[in-house]
């Protein structure tokens, strides 16, 4: 594949030559690539990473891949072509991303993954992810308590290509399935999407009017499900989400959704930038590639302290 590499390099050289207007004193560049900012979670990541990078004296290139692995691959090319010194990436698929991150590595650009894992080690410099299993267990335990250990429920699952969808579902079931009186009457993927969750919830509710609870793999789907339930006059249904968004916080404080699980997205993105900076400046890799950050249960007790994916003291 040497030929391709040479061609690509030649193409980049062309881009660089054309970009001659770039000032020579430009600061080092960090590329920040995440899924669509429509979901406030990813927006918080991008904002957190960008703020930290600027604070440390870097230029930033903020891009979104919309959960499209092909688009992600093009964005990685863009980052390499623009001479990024590091890539902060919330990726578009645990398997599909491995090759893209390898491509960046081969071009000498280290990747620092946040939020989602890839199914390989030694390719990215760091993979900093929320302890989704621990978080899911917290959410499920609260759900079990709210349900009083019995009743029919629905599970909304996230996007299948994302390890987090599976791990949260597993965390939920490892807790819930220990209670035989809790019966799952429907389990569907709404692909992390609020609108999709709304329409799925509408049809699930028609088929199963006797549900008592909904446990959702993320907050946007929880918002969609709750909106559908409210529209059908079923505000009594217990809804639990995952992420810790401001939207769900507001719903909890106004007695809508009952609970969620906070992922420290903002802190996570900032930590990734700090590690990237350490790598750029001191050639120092973090002690461990895979790093877990614990999640925190959010319910009526602490919801008012939640702001942009962080708990205030």
């Amino acid at each position: 594949m040497k030929l391709t590499r040479r061609m690509t390099l030649a193409a980049f050289a062309g881009v660089l030559a054309l970009g001659g207007a770039m000032p020579a004193y430009a600061a080092d560049l960090i590329a920040i690539i995440t899924p669509s900012h429509d979901n406030p979670f990813f927006k918080a990541e991008a904002v957190g990473a960008e703020a930290k990078a600027k604070e440390l004296g870097y230029d930033t290139l903020v891009l979104v891949h919309d959960d499209d692995a092909n688009k992600q691959s093009e964005l990685i090319d863009t980052a390499i072509g623009r001479g990024a010194k590091a890539i902060i990436l919330d990726n578009a698929g645990a398997d599909a991303t491995v090759a893209a991150v390898q491509k960046a590595k081969d071009a000498g650009v280290p990747s620092f993954l946040i939020d989602r894992e890839i199914n390989a080690t030694g390719v990215a410099v760091a993979q900093i992810v929320s302890n989704n299993y621990q978080g899911a267990q917290l959410g499920a335990q609260e759900f079990v308590k709210l349900m009083a250990e019995k009743g029919n429920f629905v599970e909304l699952v996230g996007k299948e290509s994302d390890t987090n969808a599976g791990i949260r579902s597993k965390g939920y079931h490892d807790v819930i399935d220990d209670y035989p009186d809790l019966k799952m009457v429907a389990q569907q993927s709404a692909n992390w999407s609020q609108t999709e969750a709304y329409s799925k919830m509408e049809s699930i509710l028609q088929a199963n009017p006797d549900i008592k609870g909904v446990i959702s793999g993320n907050d946007t789907m929880a918002m969609g499900a709750y909106a559908a339930l409210a529209a059908a006059g079923r505000k009594d249904v217990i809804v639990v989400g995952f992420d810790g968004s401001n939207d769900v916080r507001d719903s909890i404080t106004s007695s809508g959704i009952k609970a969620t699980v906070l992922q420290p997205a903002f802190a996570q993105a900032q930590m990734a930038v700090e590690q990237a900076s350490d790598f750029i400046k001191n050639k120092k890799s973090p002690e461990k590639e895979k790093q877990l950050m614990d999640c925190v249960l959010i319910n009526g007790d602490n919801a008012p302290k939640l702001e942009t994916f962080a708990l205030k003291n």
């Binding site: 390989a120 080690t121 390719v123 989704n132 299993y133 987090n164 614990d294």
Partner: protein, 220 residues
Amino acid sequence: MPNKLTWLTLGLPLAALAGLSLSACKILPTPSAQGGGSDNSSAFNPDKRVKDIWASKVIPYLQQKAGPFAEVHALAKTDPAAAGAKYGNPKKQANSPWTFAVRVEGKIIAANTQSRAATIDVDVDGDGKADARVQIGPAMRGTAIRDSLDFVQFNDFTNQIDFAQFGKAFNAYADKMVLSKLSRDGLEGRTAKVLGAYTIESAQNLPLVTPAEAEIGPKP
């Protein structure tokens, strides 16, 4: 590769025409896409792996590391780092709370066997108040046993799913081998002797201990 003559006569103009000719390149799978050295998920059997190390590594490690609950918990409250160095897993994730190996010995003063996540509350210092809550299954929370072991690292697993399954397998094994055999009736007033682990959580709740070994004494 096509034969050399063809390549020489056709290859160059073709390459020039097509911009990049991949016709002579062999498509090989990217080695890293196969999980580079870590476990193959399909071959990963968490229950078997726990069974294989339980008696030979897990129990000896906890026996050697564990301190009496009152001592561990007092130190954990005043100096978590010191408690961690002595009773915790020094190779824990930097952002995770400490998980300590402990022995809980005392009198059962309350029991909740209504919930599937059954527990006993144990008084270890004889003041009549519960000091620790011990899970007795079958439903168990958390991954304290896994997290207490310094020879189990998240980095050694393909992803969180495998790591999670491994954590759950410890609880399931403890339940199958030990907890499911414990008596469930008239627990109050009896003695309990437990070797296990607990993770520092919020200060309001009783520390929740996950047992690896447990005995309940006869009725008084």
